[in-house]
Amino acid sequence: MKQHSLFDIISPVMIGPSSSHMAGAIRLGLMAGKIYSSTIKKVTFKLYNSFAETGKGHGTDKGLMAGLIGLSADDIRVRTVFDLEEVKKIDYKYEFSHNLDRHPNAVDFIINDETVISGNSTGGGNIEITKINEFETSISGEYPTIIVFYKDKPGMISRVTELILEKHINVATLNCTRNAKGETASMCICLDSPAENGVAEKISALEDVYFVRNIDKMDS
């Protein structure tokens, strides 16, 4: 269950005009950038439903790009993000469509033609990353989070959590899904305190682990 914070109500400090269409867009971009975590040369933003309809008027296009290059929700440079040198180097485009199976404020980031990261802006600046390539996830940025993709086989969860236990870090929530038995599976681990450097590397070194990301909590 989500714990309600005082700062959910009296925050965020943000660039207007809409927490879902701007702060949420920036945070989705930030999260996608952290998950991808290497140089972005090309990106296609696919905006759905309300994001597609009213996104331009709200500057959602600017917000998504700003987040992707690492600007925070209260960075005034969001307004002129397309003039920034690092953005001029990126080959980017926006697509707008409707899909009632998707959340009203949904977006796909297609990065360097190889990685697709999907997410929703769920209101009040809160977000959820719902998919990384073909894997379902649920990353909100409220906790330090470790994401692991691995081969579905006995013992994988305990091997990964053992490495977290070694650092005396408490696991707040743990969600696992898999495509099919014995196929690739994903683990999304929310922690009560950030995993120190080295934990992600140790998990990466485990046999049959394909992908690991250690993502910080987002500032409110």
Binding site: S11, I15, E53, G57
Partner: protein
């Protein structure tokens, strides 16, 4: 020891039994839930108060239009009017109305604001807090207490209803903001916990049914002017409560009514821009002329 703050009833009884003001209880709950010291909480709140002041300053200094052209410039108009013809309600009213307009216009121009509880209602708590602080010569500590008190009200309501127009209509955004502002105002005037809760309740009770029907889906029409209306309105709720006037419907019941009203509200009136003001001839005309 209080673990969570879910109802106004819990807040009132805990406050009266332990002789603690609302802000201290909220600090205690937040501190325990998120493993953060009270000092850190107050530092973060102060940052938000400072950003509220900045947004007022920036908004007052700018008369530019928003990207759509639907808003911007009215704050300057109102200030000029007050210079020649003062407000009937006096200087506090002048400040609250111009400050709220300054902040919400700044929001529409993609300026930096504090969403409280949302961006679309950002002018309400900001303007009431800063205007009162100036008029009553309040301290920094008072300002922090006011914002935490406002946050406590929003916190309790938001457990039952997400502060989002798409979920509960504008009653859940500007409506909730006015209840929070009323509480901040009553806190600033040293009202009792009961008076603070009832000021928020009276505000909520009188905005039940407020829909979210923004023209073109933008946070401008009717949001910009609505911030001014609901900021000034919150003072009325505080005045009544300071006189000891209470809501006949219990505070938690009013929250339940708010939730129920939000559920009964047609989806066409909940941020989809398919009904109400967004579905008028005038709105259609804007659709023709405004292109992004």
């Amino acid at each position: 020891m209080i673990k969570s703050l879910n109802t106004f009833e819990t807040l009132l009884s805990y406050s009266e039994e332990n002789n603690l003001p609302i802000y201290k209880i909220m600090e205690e709950v937040e501190s325990r839930a998120f493993d953060i010291t009270v000092e850190e909480i107050r530092k973060k709140v102060k940052h938000n108060v400072d950003e509220m002041k900045n947004s007022i300053k920036n908004g007052l200094a700018c008369r530019e239009k928003s990207q759509s052209g639907l808003s911007g410039g009215d704050c300057a108009k109102l200030r000029e009017k007050f210079k020649t013809t003062p407000a009937l309600f006096g200087s506090l009213y002048e400040k609250i109305s111009t400050y709220s307009l300054a902040v919400i216009e700044e929001n529409a121009r993609m300026g930096k604001i504090v969403a409280c509880p949302t961006a679309g209602s950002c002018g309400i708590v900001s303007s009431v807090l800063v205007a009162l602080s100036e008029e009553l010569n309040l301290t920094e500590e008072d300002e922090i207490n006011m914002l935490i008190t406002a946050g406590a009200i929003g916190h309790i309501v938001s457990i039952k209803l997400a502060p989002a127009g798409a979920v509960g209509g504008c009653q859940a955004e500007c409506g909730l903001a006015s209840a929070m502002a009323a509480a901040a105002c009553t806190c600033a005037r040293k009202g009792t916990t009961k008076q603070i809760i009832h000021s928020a309740t009276l505000a909520l009770k009188n905005i039940l049914g407020l829909t979210c029907d923004p023209v073109l889906g933008l946070v401008e029409v009717p949001c910009v002017k609505r911030n001014v209306f609901l900021a000034t309105y919150s003072i009325t709720a505080s005045e009544l409560a300071m006189a000891g006037i209470e809501s006949k419907i219990a505070p938690d019941d009013v929250v339940d009514a708010l939730v129920q009203t939000g559920q009964l509200m047609s989806p066409l009136l909940k941020e989809t821009s398919q009904g109400g003001l967004a579905f008028t001839k005038s709105a259609d005309n804007f659709k023709e002329t405004i292109k992004f």
